[in-house]
């Protein structure tokens, strides 16, 4: 077990930067998620840590070891791929034993450790099967067993849940988190799915255009996003341009919203759709008209137009009302609901 330290890591292809100076410190035993849209450089970063991409600049340290120039097969990492990447010509048992054989572990020890790893991922009794005879979820569990059985210093997961369907994704992410906690293994996972990232991570690193925009715990990132990009990537958000005036945010159209903990100099206000309360017309708050109302079972998605012309997206739990286009109501934004940010642009 060991922490990972990445310093000013960069990868350029000709003139284009895929990764542009990433510095990260992953603590021993921590579960860090690299979150970002496709093309943000998160996978290239992971592949540089694994040794499949040579960095143009910077270095990678695993524990005390500088592995920047080590080939992948001397890094002692466990790797899990989106497409499982099992060896199709080997049984489950032989797949899991592969890394142990390369390490010249004795036959008896191999048998014990393979059995333990398979039972950790709840696949006892599946050892004799071939990967093709298993479901996607089972295959991914074999891949996880194969990666952890070698007791790697770090576990790297590249979109491990993307090929699974919704229900399975929900279950396997729970198992993955449980397993990681049990083993206490330093883990980096790459994903573009915000729910997935939030639900398993100790800390998130949100990436865009080859750079890390913000690092923090899920609640830090969601509640106090550093910028517009982070705010809208980890959830939905309404943004208003304006200025801060002693605890009150004044929008461009003159709307005055009290905001707790508002830094002077903020020029954008972010409001999460689920932080807005809906009240009958005439109540205390912002008068609003329903532009579209979409029923989604568990709740409603409303697009409101405020008196000043601004639009406000609201997600409200289903409380039995039936919202209709054209309806007039009051939107209540509590002082704790708004987050001021400086866009710098």
């Amino acid at each position: 077990m060991a922490g990972i330290r990445i310093e000013s890591l960069a990868k350029r292809y000709n003139a284009v930067s895929a990764v542009d100076g990433v510095t990260l410190d992953v603590r021993d035993g921590e579960f860090l998620v690299l979150l970002g849209p496709s093309g943000c450089g998160k996978t290239t970063t992971l592949r540089m840590i694994a040794g499949f991409v040579a960095p143009s600049e910077g270095c990678v340290r695993i524990g005390a070891r500088d592995v920047t120039h080590e080939p992948p097969y001397r890094r002692n990492i466990g790797l899990v791929f989106q497409n499982y990447a099992l060896f199709p010509h080997l049984t489950v048992e032989e797949n899991v034993a592969f890394g142990l054989r390369r390490r010249r572990v004795g036959e008896a020890a191999i048998r014990t450790r393979v059995a333990t790893a398979l039972s950790r991922v709840k696949l006892d009794g599946f050892g004799g099967r071939y990967p093709r005879a298993m479901s996607g979820g089972q295959q991914q569990r074999v891949a996880i067993a194969r990666a952890i059985v070698i007791e790697p210093d770090v576990l790297l997961l590249d979109e491990p849940l993307s090929n699974l369907d919704a229900q399975l994704r929900h279950d396997v992410r729970g198992e993955l988190r449980r397993l990681q906690t049990e083993l206490g293994i330093t883990t980096i996972m790459v994903t573009h799915d915000q729910d997935e990232a939030m639900s398993v991570a100790d800390r998130l690193a949100v990436m865009e255009k080859g750079q890390v925009r913000q690092v923090g715990t899920p609640s830090e990132i969601y509640r106090r996003p550093a910028d517009r990009f982070v705010a809208s990537f980890v959830g939905r958000a309404n943004f208003y341009a304006g200025r801060a005036e002693r605890g009150i945010f004044v929008t461009a159209s003159g709307l005055r919203l009290p905001v707790a903990d508002l830094a002077e100099g903020a020029d954008t206000l972010m409001i999460r759709p689920e932080a807005v309360g809906l009240r009958p017309a005439g109540a205390d708050g912002l008068a609003a008209t329903v532009e579209t109302a979409t029923y989604l079972g568990a709740g409603w998605e409303l697009e409101l137009r405020l008196a000043g012309g601004e639009r406000l997206s609201v997600v409200a739990p289903d409380a039995g009302e039936h919202w209709r286009q054209g309806q007039i109501l009051t939107a209540h934004v509590a002082p704790t609901a708004g987050v001021g940010m400086r866009t710098g642009s």
Partner: protein
């Protein structure tokens, strides 16, 4: 259009589909014709092949069997094809790895180069190699020009490009992340190639071997200037026989060859879909 799509039932539509089916049947019949014709000829009783035949018999199979030239040609061809294929695969596999996995300038040009056996006339390849071997023979005293090894050297020019193309295509089709998984588990590139990649592409290797063998076995052009008395390949023995006499003997030999190669192809297609791999 599709096997499932509901089809129009107007008379003109039904007629059009019938015409399409008839044309297809005709094309297939035409492709199957040489096979059928040769088999038919081999069973004709008379010495002169006429339609309708005088009768049917198996006598030409006996005649063929007793032709020493054809028998020894068969053995030579078998030997040459086997050696050319084996040597071809041995040098081909590492080269294919370099072509499929390496990134170097001119990679595309190299793949185009593999078409070269198609564009250099085989007869000229054979003649050139003959001239070359004679030169080597004069310089070194090794009896190359008249030996079966000379034919093997020439046939390697047939098998190697096919093998490189097939093996490279198969390597390109291998999911890279499976190899990366092996590397991450501690296998060196060589160990990964031997324990993961080659087992994954072995249907392609079998196809390359069979295809190389068949191409070498049937080749006439490249061998033409390299054969010597007692070291003649089967296709050339057939050619020489036909120049002397046209009778069903050769049809009988062909049927034997067809059965042999056909069996090899059928056996291979159990392992791999040759039609797709090639």
């Amino acid at each position: 259009m599709s096997g499932e799509t509901i089809l129009g039932r107007r008379p003109v539509e039904i007629l059009a589909r019938a015409a399409l089916r008839a044309a297809t049947a005709l094309v297939l019949a035409y492709i199957a014709m040489p096979l059928a014709l040769v088999v038919w000829l081999s069973f004709m009783a008379g010495e002169i092949m006429v339609v309708p035949p005088e009768g049917y018999s198996l006598r030409w199979y006996g005649v063929a069997w007793n032709q020493d030239q054809l028998r020894s040609g068969f053995v030579t061809s078998l030997w040459v094809a086997a050696v050319a294929t084996t040597l071809g695969l041995l040098v081909t596999v590492p080269a294919s790895f370099a072509l499929a996995r390496g990134r170097f300038p001119g990679r595309e040009a190299v793949l185009q180069l593999l078409m070269s056996p198609l564009i250099v006339p085989g007869i000229v390849i054979g003649a050139s190699i003959y001239v070359f071997l004679v030169q080597v023979e004069i310089e070194t005293g090794l009896p190359l020009a008249g030996s079966a090894w000379g034919i093997v050297v020439a046939h390697l020019l047939l098998t190697v490009p096919w093998c490189v193309r097939l093996v490279t295509a198969n390597l390109v089709g291998v999911n890279r992340s499976v190899e990366e998984a092996a590397l991450s588990l501690g296998a060196s590139p060589l160990v990964t190639a031997l324990t993961v990649t080659l087992p994954m592409i072995w249907p392609g290797l079998v196809a390359a071997a069979v295809f190389g063998f068949v191409v070498s076995f049937g080749n006439i052009e490249v061998s033409l200037f390299l054969v010597a008395p007692g070291q003649t390949t089967l296709p050339i023995a057939i050619l020489q026989y036909l120049q002397w006499k046209i009778d069903p003997t050769i049809a009988a030999v062909s049927v034997a060859q067809i059965v042999l190669i056909g069996a090899a192809l059928v056996a291979t297609s159990r392992i791999t879909n040759l039609g797709k791999v090639v």
